[in-house]
């Protein structure tokens, strides 16, 4: 099993690459969500314009985050919610524990919430003897398996239905079946009982509207509606970057998020929650607590490049589009948030020292930037973080002497046509001994002996061979043919 620490990224990634079943699941994910997304965004007239508007709204919000945050809190309290503030995960967990203890609550149902994963809420509650039930099907599966989500939208994407069937047989005691409908019905049956007797429901939020004090949760299953409607107390944990200024801004974000995330025009349910009951016999929880969490977010405001991390609406499109994520999945990252967005926000949330490898877990191909509904320039952010890591090194990266010499020779040859020509001719002769097909790679041990710097270069990738004939030579022949 992979160790879930970012320090072990290299080892985790290598193990994941050898997992054929995982790679099949990830290929399915990339194709399915990629195709659905494409057809869903085609139903919007001006997708690019919509992305620009969304980003402009986020930029404006973040530039005056203090003002909008205060407005949201004031309006939410006016509508009857109680707002709490948490600087970090520990403070947020303490507030949860205090609220649960005051209510003598032991039966807690939870809606899927990445921010609750971020603060490791379940582990903290379990230590205090409270065992919350995850109610999203994917989250419930990984909770039963004692694992963590490997995708921010489909948390159990790494598991096969056969594995889930075994899990349900072992933990829930059903007869073994790999019929997806039957497995789903099992979740409905078991979790209904938990909903019926829960004291407290815990959710996150996708957006929080400053103008009205409203917050929204989007879903397909209905478990969030049950979590936020049935128990007497509802506690919502919301990162401070979820704020948007106006109710009308929802038009933009509700068009972007489902299309980018699951390729739907709208998810099945949107719950817009504004405060508490307005009459004694009204439906829903008696009390609503909102915990607003910083946990490193305000630090990201300190530079326009890092600030854009806070524009993220957690759709997961960059994960589905990323060739690295597609190859290794979410667990290899060893962080709560995987994929391209995880590689940029994790080092900022947990400290760059603890997640040094993540900004390098990218080929900078830019696929993430292409699909991001709020146009976050993730490659720019990755480079920004890489620069910060390099600056933080006590000594500059030392290159091997042989590598230095090789680059010197390279520079010398490439700036002198005669030497260059001669060099390519010699290379053509020499590569016969080390090349396989048109590649020079680690499959041929001879190379390492012959040319140590190239040997290091080709430990992880193949170098192309020098072409049998140069462009100039071909060009010359073609001209002669014409004459």
């Amino acid at each position: 099993m992979n160790q879930l620490t970012t320090e072990n990224f290299d080892r985790n990634a290598r193990a994941a690459l050898g997992d054929a079943q995982l790679r099949g699941a990830l290929r399915n994910l990339a194709v399915t969500f990629g195709t659905r997304r494409k057809s869903a965004i085609a139903t919007v007239d001006d997708w690019e314009g919509l992305r620009d508007r969304a980003r402009a709204i986020k930029d404006e919000t973040l530039a005056r985050l203090d003002v909008y945050l205060a407005e949201f809190a004031e309006n939410a309290e006016k509508a009857g919610a109680r707002v709490h503030w948490a600087r970090d995960g520990r403070e947020a967990c303490d507030i949860f524990l205090r609220l649960l203890k005051e209510r003598e609550a032991t039966r807690v149902v939870k809606a899927k919430s990445m921010v609750s994963e971020e603060i490791h809420l379940n582990a903290v509650l379990e230590k205090a003897g409270i065992f919350p039930d995850e109610t999203d099907l994917g989250e419930w599966i990984i909770q039963l398996a004692g694992e963590t989500p490997s995708h921010i939208v489909v948390p159990a994407i790494h598991k096969t239905k056969a594995q889930i069937a075994d899990l349900f047989t072992e933990k829930v005691g059903i007869e073994k079946t790999d019929d997806v409908d039957a497995l789903t019905k099992t979740a409905r049956r078991v979790l209904r009982e938990r909903f019926a007797r829960a004291d407290v429901g815990i959710s996150g939020a996708n957006f929080a509207v400053a103008e009205t004090g409203t917050f929204l949760v989007l879903e397909n299953e209905g478990n969030i509606r049950l979590t936020t409607s049935l128990p007497k107390t509802h506690i919502a944990l919301i990162g401070i970057e979820k704020i948007i200024p106006k109710f009308a801004d929802l038009d933009v974000f509700l068009k972007l998020l489902p299309r980018s995330g699951t390729g739907q025009r709208l998810t099945t349910y949107q719950s817009l929650i504004t405060g508490t009951k307005r009459s004694a016999d009204g439906e829903g929880p008696d009390e609503l607590h909102i915990i607003l969490l910083d946990n490193g977010r305000s630090r990201m405001l300190a530079h326009p490049t890092t600030r854009q991390s806070l524009a993220c609406i957690r759709c997961g499109a960059c994960l589905n589009a990323c060739p690295v994520y597609q190859a290794i999945g979410g667990h290899a990252y060893g962080s709560v948030y995987p994929g391209p967005i995880g590689a940029v926000i994790t080092p900022q949330l947990v400290g760059i020292e603890k997640a040094k490898q993540l900004p390098y877990a990218s080929s900078l191909c830019g696929a993430c930037r292409e699909v991001c509904p709020v146009k976050i320039d993730i490659p720019e952010l990755l480079l920004h973080l890489r620069a910060a890591i390099a600056e933080g090194e006590k000594e500059p990266v030392r290159r091997r002497t042989s590598e230095k010499l090789a680059f010197k020779a390279y520079a010398f040859a490439w700036s002198r046509p005669v030497v260059y020509k001669l060099g390519t001719k010699i290379s053509r002769l020499l590569q016969k001994f080390v090349a396989k097909g048109d590649k020079i790679g680690k499959q041929n041990g001879l190379l390492a002996k012959l040319a140590p710097p190239l040997g290091a270069w080709t430990a992880w990738r193949d170098a192309p061979t020098v072409a049998p004939r140069s462009f100039r030579e071909i060009w010359k022949d073609e001209l002669e043919k014409k004459d």
């Binding site: 980003r55 209904r192 019926a196 106006k246 099945t268 349910y269 607003l292 405001l301 300190a302 326009p304």
Partner: protein, 235 residues
């Protein structure tokens, strides 16, 4: 109180970091000019026939089942037909006046319970509500808690039937958000099709926590013809 201390610290941190960013903001050339919002198509662009057609297409696209009827007695007949078809015996109903008047004539056919207690809800076969708005472009029902106790009735039973008046149909999400924003209900629920999940191998399964079937009985005429409604309701 410690949470005040946390609040102040968070605000300090936001202001301090935004101030630190200012010199970089000035040279950071990338800006995202807010493109002008696309013009909302005028209401007149969508006749009521077209609205109903759009709603039908998109509602059926997400697996909804639509019955279009002319008036309340016809709605009651359509409702009874569905109740018989699914053999519903325990039926939870919301407190909406429309639901009351349509189900009023069916009291002998099944057990209808308004403001149903949880025990009844969890055993019921059907939930009936109305909807304050519906969005044609997405096939979405919009229910406001200030107008109707809808939260559990539309969620807990395995089948949901929504009685919808044609005059509450709008073409776009934007139009409906505009109608809601002045004073949003404590809970506004958008419903687009049946409860679904793809959490196991991305295989679609219907009815995971909410209803597996959603019907809309669209009452398209309230004493006037569809074309009259359009003339009276235009911009």
């Amino acid at each position: 109180m410690s949470t005040d201390e946390a609040k102040n610290a968070i605000f300090d941190s936001i202001r301090r970091n935004l101030a630190a960013s200012r010199p970089f903001d000035a040279v950071h050339c990338e800006s995202h000019e807010p493109a002008a919002p696309p013009p909302t198509p005028p209401r007149a662009a969508f006749s009521n026939e077209l609205l109903i057609e759009n709603f039908r297409d998109n509602f059926e696209f997400v697996g909804g089942k639509l019955r279009v009827v002319a008036d309340e007695p016809a709605a009651a007949a359509a409702l009874l037909a569905i109740i018989k078809e699914i053999k519903a015996e325990k039926i939870a109903v919301s407190d909406a006046p429309l639901v009351e008047s349509v189900t009023g004539s069916l009291k002998n056919e099944a057990e209808f319970v308004e403001n149903a207690p949880r025990e009844f809800l969890f055993e019921s076969d059907l939930g009936i509500t109305s909807a304050q708005w519906a969005i044609a472009e997405t096939g979405t029902l919009v229910l406001e808690s200030d107008a109707e106790r809808h939260r559990l009735t539309s969620l807990v039973p395995p089948v949901h039937i929504c009685l919808l008046e044609a005059k509450n149909l709008r073409q776009t999400l934007g139009e409906v958000l505009e109608l809601l924003q002045k004073n949003p209900s404590r809970a506004v629920t958008f419903i687009t099709g049946a409860s679904r999940t793809s959490d196991i191998e991305l295989t679609l399964a219907i009815g995971v926590h909410g209803p597996g079937e959603v019907y809309v009985i669209l009452i398209s005429d309230f004493g006037f013809r569809i074309s009259d409604l359009e003339a009276g309701d235009g911009p």
